[in-house]
Symmetry: C2
Subunit: 203 residues, 2 copies
């Protein structure tokens, strides 16, 4: 049983990954979406009432059953731990759940050949549909950075978590650049401190 | 048995990680360092005569037994797969082995409190000893990015592989910046293509 069982029409589709299935059912608190509460409880392995980064890492899995990269997990914690408690409460979890579901939709949409994973060409199409018109040289660099290495030199698929990270990195860097490029000529002036800050705050 | 058994004087030190121990002994080819050959053979799990990224990822382990991040493994492949075959041959492996041993020495050196891992302050001292005089704000960003999240909000140690990656990222970005800062005033002019290229080629 995978996350896809929540949407029966997706059960026949390739496994794109997402949350591991919850081990057992528990009663939701009043007013909570029972299904979402069940996922929250299952991710909160130590039953502390909040999800730590480590618990999130254990709960998230790609379509090929590989774990999410620590950097992707940290990125998700950074976005959804809005009260900066270091953990994800139930309210925060519903935002995280929606974010991952939305990205699963994007990933599925761009998996044009229904292979179950995004290849370099599909990533390129995704990025240009988002409005990032990267040069062929840059697109190659993006693919090289985010494609996992494979055993026999054939390019492997870009797993879900690395696809999301690639897109978020391009978005973050581009927005930072555009903010500085006030005259829109494609060039910026930047000092060392700011330059490194942009690099270090990208996921 | 860990990698440290190669250097008997290190056997009493904390476990800083490195290669997993080889499962069994095999005879080296003529002229090869027998110990190094033994490690090479043990990492080359499918006995293909060359080490794939996946084999390298399986073989490398931090002091806390966590696996190296995929990005660190890809960085190592990028540095040492000098013939761009997609795998590491025995010649390339000896360079990789020395690189990791040297970084283990650096990691150990900066683990001032002998805790077995580098904390944020120790990373800061390491970076400034390398000549990177980052502002307190940047140092905090470096630590935030590379420290693994921990269960109870207490800052965890920076594992060996993330320590190496942090140092290499700072080095790469700084050198790229300095190359463009021809008048040494701490400011550069850069276009979008080049900016993104620097980000994407950093490990």
């Amino acid at each position: 049983m995978t996350a896809w069982m929540l949407w029966p029409d997706m059960a026949r589709q390739p496994n794109y990954g997402g949350f591991r299935a919850p081990p057992q059912s528990m009663g939701p608190p009043p007013g909570a979406d029972p299904q979402l509460w069940q996922w929250f409880v299952s991710v909160d392995a130590d039953r502390s009432g909040a999800i730590s980064a480590e618990e999130l890492k254990q709960a998230l899995v790609n379509g090929d059953w590989s774990q999410f990269d620590l950097d992707t997990v940290k990125m998700l914690m950074g976005i959804f731990d809005t009260d900066r408690s270091g953990t994800i409460g139930f309210e925060e979890f519903s935002g995280l759940w929606k974010y991952i579901s939305d990205w699963q939709g994007v990933y599925r949409h761009f998996d044009a050949d229904r292979s179950g994973s995004i290849d370099g060409h599909e990533l390129q199409r995704a990025l240009s549909s988002f409005g990032y018109n990267l040069s062929p040289a840059l697109l190659r660099l993006v693919v090289d950075k985010y494609v996992p290495p494979t055993e026999y030199g054939t390019p492997g698929g870009i797993t879900f978590d690395r696809f999301v990270r690639a897109c978020v990195v391009i978005k973050t860097i581009t927005e930072n650049f555009q903010r500085l490029d006030t005259d829109h000529d494609g060039w910026i002036q930047i000092n060392y401190e700011h330059f490194l800050k942009i690099v270090l705050t990208a996921p």
